[in-house]
Amino acid sequence: MVRKSKGRQKIEMVKMKNENNLQVTFSKRRTGLFKKASELCTLCGAEIVVIVFSPGKKVFSFGHPNVDCVIDRFANINPPNPRQHTDIQLSEARRNAIVQDLNNHLTQVTEEFEIEKKRTEDLKQKRKNSHMRENWWEEPIEELNLSQLTEFKCGLEKLRKTVTTEACKNFQAIVPRHNFYGGSSNNSTFGICDDHTDNIDTDLDLYNHQRMVATNTFACNQHNMMVPYHITSPFGNIANSNIIEGFAPEYNQNPNQFCFKQEQMSECDQHSAHPPRFGHGYY
């Protein structure tokens, strides 16, 4: 096994020679120092202030309860007023509660991170062990020759089609199978879903569709409206952008507005006789 780095090494306690390394070291060690300071405060309830100047003359400081307070006390500037004592105690209690909450949150996130790291290890190990390399297409792309690449491309494109079909099916399962663009019977919304009917249910207004759409799988794939993107349908090539734009332009602009859209509907818009907004006979 080739070692990626030399691992922990003992270093001399003198100023570092390499400027870049010095900057990196400063960053890392400063972070570490602040972490230790924070932990000391949480664990032991101590008061602390740490002031550090960077190689670039910028100042970083950490203080508990806060920097100024501890400095003042050190410099004996503001002896605490006895009347303020209860107030101080109360705010301290509140502050401690907040800090405790934050600590718990941080612990939780750190644990989640550890779990994910373990998962990465497992996945990578799985990949290493799997298949005993019997499938040439699983090798890195750089190791394939041109003919293999072309074949692989063919196979992948087919797979993409089936995946797209599956995704379509899910969508159709939730939304009633209406051609709600009022198009002709030969057009379906995506062109590759064969089971379409040409019933136009005029009672089902467009915004009901939108509401249903908000709950379907596409809502989960907000960042990748991958479905009707590059497909070639039995009905011919559908221009790349047409489908997505025709289908639900507002979702393309901001998928996060799925829910908000409903609230903004006006009365008249809900009228069922209102013609479908995206035009009919789109394709």
């Binding site: 270093i11 306690m13 100023k15 570092m16 010095l22 400063f26 060690r29 400063r30 230790k36 924070s38 932990e39 000391l40 405060c41 664990l43 032991c44 309830g45 101590a46 602390i48 740490v50 002031i51 550090v52 190689p55 100042v59 970083f60 400081s61 950490f62 309860p65 006390r73 050190f74 800090v99 405790q100 934050l102 600590n103 949150h105 941080l106 996130v109 989640e112 991170f113 996945l123 298949h131 499938n135 040439w136 394939l144 041109l146 003919s147 293999q148 072309t150 074949e151 491309k153 196979g155 992948l156 494109e157 797979l159 089936t162 995946v163 599956e166 899910n170 590759i192 794939n221 991958m226």
Partner: protein
Amino acid sequence: MTRQKVKMAFIENESSRKATYKKRKRGILKKANELATLCGVPVGVIIDSPYDLTPEVWPSREDMDNVLSQLQRLPVMDRTKKMLNQESYLKQSISKASETCKKLTKENKELEMKEVMFDCLSGKTSPSRIEKNDLGGCGNVIEQYLRNLNRRIEILSKNDGASSSSVHVVASTSVAMPIVELGSSSTAFCDMIRQQQIQSNMNQNVGGLDLNQQQW
């Protein structure tokens, strides 16, 4: 002896707390010293607690005064820009940790989807068995892979004008393969490869298709 994970909360046990305080205080001062020496920068630390009669100051009162006066000389903006207390520090740590965690989760999902993609190609599973929520992610991974494939094909085609004829051979064989309907194409790819292997063994004139020899 493996270290036990310490719970990040106020230590209730008095003696335990005192012991921890002493050890950690020593540790912090050591770290502060290392930072100051290695990076050649001014560092000042004040630690105060019920366990100390007087606050602990590092490096020394004098040096601390110097640091403080240096601090005072700076405009307020510069002084407070990177000033933290427990609350702000922890919030910062949480958001950094969340970011990293999210990124890792995303990468893991991609790795997982890649496995699914390979499983589909080798017939171990099919798109109909993919989780609904994963279809989009899987599609994305496929897209990405195709992009990389295309890029690689372009590079090789440019450098390799001579073997374009062999590419045609392959292309025509692929087309000649039975095109399975969309519904059941999960086994198509590896079957396709196997059939081609059989065919290429039958035809002696293999163009660019030496699958058997290529990889081992």
